[in-house]
């Protein structure tokens, strides 16, 4: 049915040296690239590449609720849409939202809510639009990581950034940050979102087969990875503000000199 041959099932997901099909160790993240502030019209935006995931997030708000009846008198309403571009997956996806996309939109929204100070903006909405331009396993987690940067970029007050990462089981072993092929031919997937300093897990889903011990091991691995990602998120924001600050100072200096 498909245009380019889909990845075939590899003979083994872990080789004799304990390395995975893309050469990673079991506890190693895929290459991760974060950017903020790249969209002109959005109030805040962020972009993430994690493996072959390419995801763009825009935040609009706080803005007047539309339609009005969704507004709440004592807090802002966060709305979230996780959406995949038709060309983001192996077989073309209809642009109409699938049941999967609707479920993920819900759990992603619920993973972000705990950190946003929604009570500062009653009667408004804060809209988070996650567009998956290319999908490669772990896209919901990558979407959360980027969404939380986009919220920061929009200047929405938050207690802390949320970071997310999945752990899975391949060939009987827990492995961090599964790629598409590992997800497809693996035994379990455990996406986790963490608010690191609060120590709060705000997204948790699982499918596959795990013992309770494997779950506990996986949860720890995911939380460690979330902390790493959290540092990268902060670094990304710092760089952005540094750039802005530099730009501002550069522009201001002549004035001061003059």
């Amino acid at each position: 049915m498909n245009k380019l041959p889909e990845p075939k099932q590899p003979e083994k997901l872990i080789d004799e040296k304990g390395l995975r099909i893309d050469g990673r160790r079991l506890d190693q993240l895929r290459p991760l690239k974060l950017e903020v502030g790249l969209l002109d019209k959005a109030d805040g935006s962020a972009y993430i590449e994690q493996g072959k995931n390419k995801i763009l997030v825009a935040v609009y708000g706080p803005r007047e609720a539309h339609p009005k009846h969704i507004a709440m008198p004592e807090r802002a309403v966060i709305r979230c849409r996780y959406h995949m571009a038709p060309f983001s997956v192996d077989e073309r996806k209809s642009p109409a939202p699938s049941r999967r996309e609707m479920e993920l939109s819900k759990v992603i929204r619920e993973s972000l809510e705990p950190v946003v100070l929604t009570d500062l903006y009653p009667r408004t909405t804060i809209d988070v639009f996650i567009e998956v331009l290319q999908s490669d396993g772990g896209s919901r987690c990558a979407g959360i990581t980027a969404a939380s940067l986009a919220l920061a970029d929009a200047g929405i007050p938050m207690k802390e950034l949320v970071a997310a990462c999945a752990v899975g089981k391949i060939q009987g072993k827990m492995a961090l940050d599964l790629s598409d092929a590992e997800d497809k031919y693996g035994d379990a997937d455990l996406p986790v979102a963490l608010v690191p300093n609060m120590g709060l897990v705000t997204l948790l889903q699982m499918d596959g087969n795990l013992t309770t011990a494997e779950f506990e091991q996986g949860l720890s691995m995911a939380m460690e990875a979330c902390k790493t990602i959290h540092s990268m998120q902060r670094e990304t924001l710092k760089k952005k503000y540094a750039t802005i600050k530099d730009a501002v100072e550069e522009r201001e200096e002549p004035e001061i000199v003059a």
Partner: protein, 260 residues
């Protein structure tokens, strides 16, 4: 209902309906009520009431899995069941409910999809699991999960074969083979306390919800966190371990009822 009361009680280790923090409401299960379905079961979980019906029909496989039958889980939050349910296309809550029930069945490999093939790539059996919520007094996920399992365990399949291009019945039925018996166990976090099997009153004050679906080997096959807050790792670990025990208890009830 006093929201404050519910919370106050829970912080004192008590619940408004006098259960223990780790106790389920009474569970009643009846099977076979819907004669036109291949299998059916109705579950009372306290005052929550869920009916599941199974239909098994001939259809086509998905193009990317020509050697597997099809499993479809759907949940309807019909407005008969609650003043908060509305007419129209499935809500976010209905979709989440159906997908969590689906994951439990699918990931535990309860149904051997390969056994549902009539002719490879052409004709397979399609198993429809329809969850119908009739009265919503909280914890629909667990009620639906048990109703779906009991209905599947109660299901009969007609024997089919190909005759030329057409699928015909060979005559006779057999029990739908079930390889696993997944059971969902749901927790609510109220203030700083975790309770099992939240009632509607408790759901209205909970800050977060966690479902853990356990298979017959005591392994996890599905999880889902819901609600606008989160859990700390210790809460999760305790919940997972408690889920294993609770699932075993409930599974025994479901399978006993399914046998009739």
């Amino acid at each position: 209902m006093e929201q404050k009361t519910v919370v106050d009680l829970v912080t004192k280790g008590k619940r408004i309906d006098e259960r223990g923090l780790e106790s389920y409401r009474p569970i009643q299960i009846q099977v076979g009520l819907i004669e036109k379905a291949n299998g059916s079961a109705q579950v009372y979980l306290g005052k929550s009431k869920v009916l599941a019906g199974i239909k098994i029909e001939t259809g086509e496989p998905f193009p990317d899995t020509p050697e597997e039958g099809v499993l479809t889980v759907n949940a309807e939050l019909v407005p008969l069941a609650s003043p908060s349910f509305e007419m129209g296309p499935p809500s976010e809550a209905a979709i989440e409910l159906s997908r969590v029930v689906d994951r439990g069945i699918r990931e535990s490999k309860a149904i051997d999809l390969k056994s549902l093939v009539i002719q490879k790539g052409k004709k397979v059996q399609v198993v429809y699991v329809d969850v119908y919520v009739l009265d919503h007094d909280g914890n629909l996920i667990d009620a639906a999960s048990m109703a779906a399992l009991a209905a599947l365990a109660n299901s009969k399949v007609a024997k089919m074969e190909m005759k030329g291009d057409e699928v015909i019945e060979k005559g006779g039925h057999h029990q739908l083979p079930l390889n696993n018996h997944p059971v969902a166990v749901t927790f609510a976090k109220i203030d700083k306390t975790i309770v099992v099997d939240p009632s509607l009153e408790e759901e209205q004050v909970m800050s977060a919800r966690l479902t853990v679906t356990i298979d017959k080997n005591g392994h996890l096959c599905a999880m889902q966190k819901g609600g606008l807050y989160g859990f700390i790792p210790d809460e999760l670990k305790r919940a997972v371990n408690l889920a294993v025990a609770k699932a075993a208890e409930n599974r025994a009830k479901v399978m006993a009822a399914a046998k009739g």
